[in-house]
Structures are given as structure tokens and as C-alpha cells.
């Protein structure tokens, strides 16, 4: 092999081969691709690879350093475990989408420039939506469209930000950006959508539980963690992330307590765990960044494990609501044990993986004397044990006897869960292995008497609260219901707006026809020609003036933007993208 391939290429080749092969050959391919990918990855030395010159920009398809390598390793690992879990799947759409999706996530993580980042970011959303649609029912179809809608909007923000940034600075490098001005703010928000920040999180809890049994396992691993990587790369030490992260850890746990669909409970707890990472990135000290990315590594494993165990339950019983389940430990004891290992890991029990990474973020907050944040994180730590650590295993496998006596999960699922569980325990018991991969040198010791005792008290007394609330009947009974969340605004609110417009617009139309046809048509013609440039200039000119730019400098900046946009040097015309968004809106709401 002359030059190793860029990591995403191997998965794209795999995705192309999936529909061609059948039976055992295809199953072999599914397991072989992540292994080949990993062997290829360790051949790639640190530094930029696969640099290309295109349209005057430098593209780097594989930038390898300690940060991208860590995510590269875990993405290969979880792809292997995920495909092992998915060996029973025959649907080429689902398998091909999963393979392409893993490739896109690797594309994001190894992108060395902003244009490459953007392309993989968009492909990631497109590939992942097929894992939702592959469930092939009405709920998943609709949830998939809403998912795509939100990600298209997020992608537009990212693209607008990148276009502005590149035209302002002339640099396409994907490195530290920092929050400074509208360009980076748009990039920041675009990344925030995929990271499921509060208020723009509902795509996750809406769509993940509607995906296929295996699709959710892949979904839980890639999109949010690729966004965490992007934030750690571009915005470490951005203070607002501390509060965004703290809010993410806290608010979902209230929803998780009253949610009935157990995969949706896990989706809420996914946001809660990503909150710890976002908070760590915001704190930005080496300890905090190490904590954030090691927690991403661990979370990918234990969250995949939890989704695998709930997937196995869904696969065997066809049910996933707490109201329909209970008592399954009788006939699915191994799945139950693996689920409890995942539950112990996410709850950060000593000797399980969550303990050795989450405590780094907590410690970093304490060392920075961030009292309110520390208390929020501690509250969230108790809360996550409550809903993911106890509620998930308790309502699925114990609680009342549902009378269901399903068979134990198939062998390949048990193997996948067993291996993942083994890794969770291994990392928890021997954290040095993971610490050795982190971007900064680690001098943190998780296993001190104080840490272990404090965490054990926190968790066991949380469990006492659960026990007493259940025994006293105060614990809220599970109910068949939908709980409103931020997706209400585009599921109900947008529909109402659309209806209101439908009623009022025709009348207005009569009134306005003369004005529009005669007066504005010419103006619209002009706008479609150079509208994007005008829009950008309208936004930027006051900011440049504030920044001290005058006369000639201002004119030359404006000319550069006009030229960039007029020559179509942006990845896609803004006008076209806005039109696409509009069509999507019509399609989804109509």
C-alpha cells in the first residue's frame, strides 16, 4: 500500500458493496470493513494527508492528530460492534446507510478544512435519516422528515458561517475558531444543532426512538459525538458552552422520568451525557477537555450498549413502552445483565467506565470554582442514575410481571452486547489505557478514597430515594402519552401558521397583486441576481463599521463578498439552499 486511504473512503467502498453482496459474504463484509478501516487508520501518521487543491482552496481529507485519532478509534470500534449487533439485518438500505453514515462521521472527524467538514456534515444527516426511514412505518417516515428539516436548517447555518468566515479571513483551515463575530457564531450554532443544545434538541428525542432496532445504536454513536469533536476542535474554552452544557445535563432528566418509551428515555439521557462533554469543552482547561473527550469515548460505548439491550427487547417482544414491559429478566437474563452493566457505566459507578471520565469534568468545574455549575452537574449525576441507571433496567426487566416470556436475544446480539459490556468494565477498571489516548497528558487519579466514597454515597442514596418512592406509590406511574417538547413548535405551531397564512394570504393577494406584479417584479428579479450578496452585506456592513473599517477598506471588503457570491464560489448558492429549505417546509407541512 503506497499511501493509506482517508478513513472515510473504506466505509464508502463498503457502503457501495453492501447492495451487491448477499448472505454470508455481506455479513463478512460488514465485520471486515471496520477492521480494515482500523488497520488503515493506524498506518496514517500524524499530520495532514490527502491534500487537494480545488477552486483555489486547499482541502485536507485526512488531518490526523491526537484529537481526531481518539474519535477515529472509537468510531471504528463502535462500527464493528454495531455491525456485529446488526448481523441479522437483511435490508441493504439499512446496512448501506449505516456504513455510509459511519464513513461520514469519520469524514467529519478527519476533515482538515472547513469545506470538507461541511460536505461530510451534510452527508452525515442524509445518510443517517435512512436509518430512521428503514423502519418503514408512518411514524418513522414523518419523524425522518422532521429530522432532516432541522438538520438542513443547521447545515444552512453552518454553510453561511463558513462562507462568511472564508471570505473574511481567506483561510479554510478547520482549527480553533473561537466565538468572534457573526461568521463564527453561525458555525457555532450549526454545530449546536447536531449537538442537540436545549431548544434545538427535539430532533433527537423525536427521531431516534423511531429508527430501526440497529439504526438507533449507530445514531446514538455518531451525530452528536462528531459535533462534540467539532466543538472541541473549534470552540474550546468558550464560556457560554459551560452553561449550555450544564442546561443539557439537567433539563432532559425531568422528561426522562415521565417518558414511557424506553428508547426515548435513553434519547433524553443521551442529551444529558452530551451536556457533560459540552460543559467540559466550555471550561476548556486540559483536564476539562480530557474529561469531555474521554467521556465521549465512554458514552459511545455505554450508550450503544443500552440502546442494544433495549433494541434486543424490542426485537424479541415488538414492544418498547414501559407500560407493556416488565419481568423480562426471567427469560432474557444475559440481556438484562448487559443492560445493567451499561446502566452502571452511564451512572458512573466506580469500576465502570463513566466513573473515570465524568469525574474529570466535575473536578475541572470544581477547580475553576464554578459552584452553580458544579451543583447542576452533581444533580444531573444523581438524576441520570435515577432514569437511565435504574428506570431502564427496572421497568424492562423487573417491576411487575408483564407475562411476556420472549426468547433470549440472538447470539450475535449477545456477543455484541457482551463485548461492549466487557469494554465498559475494562475501561472502568484500567483507565490508564484510555488516558493514554487523550489529547493532553493526564495526571488525574480517579480512584481516591474520597471520590469512590462520595460517588457511592450519591448513587446508593439516589437508589434509596427510588426504592422508597416506588414502595410508597409516589413514583409516577408510567402512562401512555406524548409529552410536549420543543418539537411542538414545528409540529403544531408551524402547521397553525401555515393554516393561518392559507386563510389570510388569498385576500391579501388580491390587494397586493397590483403592487407585486407591477412594482416589485423588477425588484425581485434584481434580488434573485444578487440577493445573497446584498443580504450578507446588509448583515456585515454595520459590523465592519463598528470594527473601525472605513471608506476604501469597506468598499474592498464589500467588493470581495459580491465577487465571491456572484461567481458561485460558495459551496452552494445561498438562494438555492433557501429555496430547498422552503420546498422541504411545504413538503413536510403540506
Amino acid at each position: 500500500m503506497s499511501e493509506p486511504l482517508a478513513p472515510f473512503m473504506i466505509f464508502f467502498i463498503g457502503a457501495a458493496l453492501v447492495p451487491v453482496l448477499r448472505g454470508r459474504c455481506r455479513k463478512g463484509l460488514l465485520l471486515l470493513i471496520p477492521v480494515l478501516g482500523f488497520l488503515n487508520l493506524i498506518q496514517l501518521g500524524e499530520g495532514p494527508h490527502w491534500g487537494l487543491e480545488s477552486m483555489g482552496y486547499t482541502l485536507v481529507l485526512a488531518r490526523v492528530d491526537r484529537l481526531s485519532l481518539l474519535f477515529g478509534y472509537i468510531f471504528h470500534l463502535v462500527a464493528l460492534l454495531g455491525f456485529l449487533y446488526a448481523l441479522h439485518v437483511e435490508d441493504p438500505l439499512e446496512l448501506g446507510a449505516a456504513m455510509a453514515y459511519a464513513g461520514c462521521a469519520l469524514g467529519v472527524v478527519f476533515a482538515g478544512d472547513l469545506l470538507t467538514l461541511f460536505v461530510f456534515w451534510e452527508l452525515l444527516s442524509v445518510a443517517s435519516v435512512f436509518l430512521i426511514w428503514a423502519r418503514r412505518n408512518r411514524a418513522s417516515l414523518e419523524a425522518g422528515f422532521r429530522y432532516l428539516l432541522v438538520h438542513v436548517a443547521g447545515g444552512l447555518m453552518l454553510m453561511a458561517g463558513i462562507v462568511l468566515y472564508v471570505s473574511e479571513t481567506g483561510s479554510t483551515e478547520f482549527g480553533y475558531l473561537g466565538l468572534q463575530g457573526p461568521a463564527t457564531a453561525l458555525i457555532f450554532l450549526g454545530m449546536g444543532v447536531n449537538c442537540a443544545w436545549p431548544g434545538i434538541h427535539a430532533w433527537l428525542t423525536d427521531a431516534y426512538p423511531e429508527a430501526t432496532v440497529t439504526g438507533t445504536v449507530f445514531l446514538s454513536a455518531f451525530t452528536t459525538k462528531a459535533a462534540v469533536y467539532a466543538l472541541a476542535r473549534a470552540f474550546p474554552g468558550t464560556p457560554v458552552l459551560i452553561w449550555i452544557g450544564a442546561a443539557m445535563t439537567a433539563f432532559p432528566i425531568f422528561y426522562a422520568v415521565i417518558e414511557n418509551d424506553l428508547r426515548r428515555v435513553l434519547s433524553y439521557s443521551l442529551i444529558n451525557q452530551v451536556g457533560f462533554m459540552v460543559c467540559g469543552i466550555g471550561i476548556g482547561t486540559p483536564l476539562a477537555i480530557n474529561g469531555a473527550v474521554s467521556h465521549a469515548f465512554n458514552d459511545i460505548l455505554f450508550k450503544a450498549l443500552l440502546f442494544m439491550s433495549m433494541g434486543a427487547v424490542l426485537h424479541r417482544t415488538g414492544r418498547i413502552h414501559a407500560t407493556d414491559l416488565g419481568g423480562l429478566y426471567r427469560t432474557m437474563p444475559l440481556t438484562c445483565i448487559f443492560c445493567m452493566v451499561g446502566a452502571a457505566s452511564i451512572s458512573a459507578f466506580p469500576l465502570f467506565s463513566g466513573f473515570v471520565s465524568k469525574s474529570m469534568v466535575m473536578e475541572a468545574a470544581a477547580l475553576g470554582d464554578m459552584r452553580a455549575v458544579w451543583f447542576l452537574l452533581l444533580f444531573a449525576s444523581a438524576g441520570v442514575f435515577h432514569h437511565a441507571g435504574i428506570k431502564i433496567p427496572y421497568f424492562a426487566f423487573f417491576s411487575h410481571d408483564s407475562g411476556l416470556r420472549p426468547k433470549e436475544a440472538p447470539l450475535h446480539m449477545l456477543l455484541a452486547m457482551g463485548l461492549t459490556a466487557g469494554l465498559c468494565v475494562f475501561i472502568g477498571c484500567a483507565p490508564g489505557f484510555l488516558y493514554g489516548l487523550l489529547p493532553y497528558p493526564v495526571d488525574y487519579v480517579p480512584y481516591t478514597g474520597g471520590h469512590v466514597l462520595g460517588q457511592s454515597q450519591l448513587l446508593f442514596y439516589s437508589s434509596l430515594a427510588f426504592t422508597l418512592l416506588i414502595l410508597s406509590g409516589i413514583y409516577p406511574a408510567e402512562m401512555r402519552a406524548s409529552n410536549l417538547d420543543a418539537d411542538w413548535f414545528y409540529r403544531k405551531g408551524a402547521r397553525a401558521l401555515y393554516r393561518a397564512l392559507e386563510r389570510t394570504l388569498p385576500a391579501l393577494g388580491e390587494l397586493g397583486r397590483g403592487l407585486l406584479v407591477d412594482g416589485l417584479a423588477a425588484g425581485v428579479g434584481r434580488m434573485t441576481q444578487d440577493g445573497p450578496a446584498r443580504l450578507v452585506l446588509l448583515l456585515l456592513s454595520p459590523l465592519w463599521r463598528l470594527g473601525g473599517a472605513k471608506g476604501e477598506e469597506l468598499a474592498s471588503k464589500a467588493a470581495r463578498i459580491r465577487e465571491t457570491l456572484a461567481h458561485g464560489a460558495t459551496p452552494v448558492g445561498l438562494g438555492a439552499a433557501a429555496a430547498t429549505l422552503f420546498l422541504f417546509l411545504l413538503f413536510v407541512l403540506g
Binding site: 432528566i253 425531568f254 422528561y255 422520568v257 415521565i258 429478566y329 426471567r330 473536578e363 470544581a366 477547580l367 459552584r371 458544579w374 452533581l378 444533580f379 444523581a382 438524576g383 435515577h386 423487573f398 410481571d401 407475562g403 481516591t448 478514597g449 474520597g450 466514597l453 462520595g454 460517588q455 457511592s456 454515597q457 450519591l458 448513587l459 446508593f460 442514596y461 439516589s462 434509596l464 430515594a465 427510588f466 426504592t467 418512592l469 409516589i474 413514583y475 409516577p476 402512562m479 401512555r480 402519552a481 406524548s482 409529552n483 410536549l484 417538547d485 409540529r491 403544531k492
Partner: protein, 87 residues
């Protein structure tokens, strides 16, 4: 499971009340052990309140009770709708 069904079907681990009792027989004393262990363990604290006796135990218990009560009595009345609300 009714007693009638139990004759035909195997009795599993926690179908026997004795096993449940045994589990709690370990669980409750363990909670006490965790509190007493504070006397033996040398703790380095960053915030002063971390050194208060039983701080983490009390926080965990109170936080979870508050979480459940808030979710049940505040959040659920606000956000719960029929299952087919969005249909």
C-alpha cells in the same frame, strides 16, 4: 403471576419472596456502611461542603426526591397530552 400459573411455570429468582428479602437484607446495611466509611477514608475536598458528614448521601437522596416530585407534579401536568396528540 398468579399462584395457579406458578405450578406450571418455573419460579424465577425474584419470584421467591425470600430472595427479595435477602437482597434488601444486604442493601439497607450497605447504606449504613457507606455513611460510616467516612470515618475511615481520608478525603481531599475542593469545596468545603464536600467534607460535611453525609453530604453526598443527603444530596443524592434529596435531589432524586425533588426530581421525581417536580417531574410528576410540575412537568407532567404541563406537557402531557394524549398519545395520538400529533396524529
Amino acid at each position: 403471576m398468579g399462584e395457579g400459573g406458578a405450578k406450571k411455570e418455573r419460579r424465577y429468582l425474584f419470584d421467591k419472596p425470600g430472595n427479595v428479602r435477602r437482597l434488601f437484607g444486604v442493601y439497607y446495611p450497605w447504606l449504613g456502611v457507606l455513611l460510616l466509611a467516612e470515618l475511615l477514608v481520608d478525603r481531599h475536598v475542593i469545596f468545603p461542603w464536600e467534607g460535611w458528614p453525609g453530604f453526598y448521601a443527603a444530596f443524592g437522596f434529596v435531589a432524586c426526591v425533588a426530581l421525581v416530585l417536580a417531574a410528576k407534579y410540575v412537568l407532567r401536568p404541563l406537557v402531557m397530552r394524549k398519545e395520538d396528540y400529533y396524529e
